[in-house]
């Protein structure tokens, strides 16, 4: 199954995605983060929060494009969700395939490890000691994931637990399924 997901993701990237220079993407995102850091006067907790909010607004919209173009249906398990995120969603939107790791025994938590991160390519955090400890530079992704999954009725807690920009060994996003929003599932689907 996972082989065919990989192929689906690659085909989708190849055939359905309009491609653009990733540096323009990196720089554009960078200018937002820098602006937030200025506007919130180096209060990185606030910056993280704002980035998460922005991401959420993206997530609740981006999901429609993902569903419309990917041919992917409703996931049967959180395990499947993890694979689809990594092999199809990340591939299609960012041309990367994060590793899915550290699944918890109850199957409700996993990590996405980003060996590459187009948001943060050639980025260095501000040299003020604080940023290295507090700023999650790519926190927009956390919001995107939370928003997008909420739209398919999955209430998921998402957070960065590591970032190479901060000197961590890996850039890692942790996802934890809180519950399936059964009441929100549209009528007619059962």
């Amino acid at each position: 199954m996972s082989k065919s997901l990989k192929t689906t993701g690659e085909d989708l990237w190849k055939n359905k995605a309009d491609k653009v220079n990733s540096e323009l993407f990196t720089l554009t995102y960078g200018s937002i983060v820098a602006q937030l850091v200025r506007d919130y006067k180096q209060d990185y907790t606030q910056v993280n929060l704002q980035l998460e909010k922005m991401g959420y607004d993206i997530g609740i919209r981006i999901i429609e494009e993902f569903l419309a173009k990917s041919q992917v249906g409703r996931c049967q398990s959180f395990k499947e969700t993890s694979e689809i995120l990594s092999k199809i969603a990340f591939k299609y939107f960012l041309n990367i395939t994060p590793r899915v790791e550290n699944f918890s025994t109850d199957g409700k938590q996993f990590s996405l490890i980003l060996d590459e991160n187009p948001l943060a390519e050639f980025v260095e955090l501000p040299d003020d000691e604080k940023a290295n400890k507090q700023l999650w530079y790519s926190n927009v992704l956390v919001g995107v994931l939370r928003g997008a999954l909420e739209m398919v009725q999955l209430d998921v807690e998402v957070a960065f637990v590591g970032d190479v920009l901060r000197g961590d060994d890996a850039t890692e996003i942790r996802l934890k399924l809180i519950k399936i929003l059964k009441d929100e599932i549209p009528a007619g689907e059962d």
Partner: protein, 236 residues
Amino acid sequence: MSQPSDIIQVSNPTQTSTKSALKGGYNPSLGPIQLPTSYQAQLASTASSKRNIYDHSLSRRAPEVNLSSLSYIFNVMIQYSQKNSKGIQELEGKLNTLGYSIGPKVLELITLREGKNAKREIKLVEILQFIHTQVWRTLFGRVADELEKSSEADDEYMITDKQPLMSEFISVPKDMGQLNVNAFVAGIIEGILDVCYFQASVSAHTVETPGCPNRTVFFIKFDRDVIERENLRFHK
């Protein structure tokens, strides 16, 4: 403020145990910092498992992402700027400023990639051609459509893009009238011109033609000094 300590540490690397304090690379006020080889080896061994941005090559061809991802990021930029603006003009100003901040970086990247062929443009028309061609191709995958000189004033030029990439999916509501979100791109151009010592103000205007509802004219107005310099240098 931190520079003096940097200098001390560079000249005396064995004293420092904190790896964050000692950095190789480029310091704007000191120039390139070459770390002593003994330290480089030490650094390599301690940080071997970690990816360092200096290890990456900048000159490889840029990878690609989905245009959608750029559009979404651009959209939150617009929404955030809009929230903090009182009117269209202020919003365009904010987008321009954000674009301006990345202009010099775009320029550096392009010239770096061109390697030996890179040259510093000193003629006004050539810098405009550089923007119209190389900058556009790097950022948007194709050259801009037209580059024109105003017939009315000697300090005004126009670059036209029939279908600007950044605003492909965007419909500006009627009550926002003249807004053109390509003010961001105008800012990038302005930033590039500025670091090249061609100070100008650049603005983006929608000039619709049949079949091209988003057609955008980037209106470039150079500072008087720039025009005078140009005349002195090349036309007298």
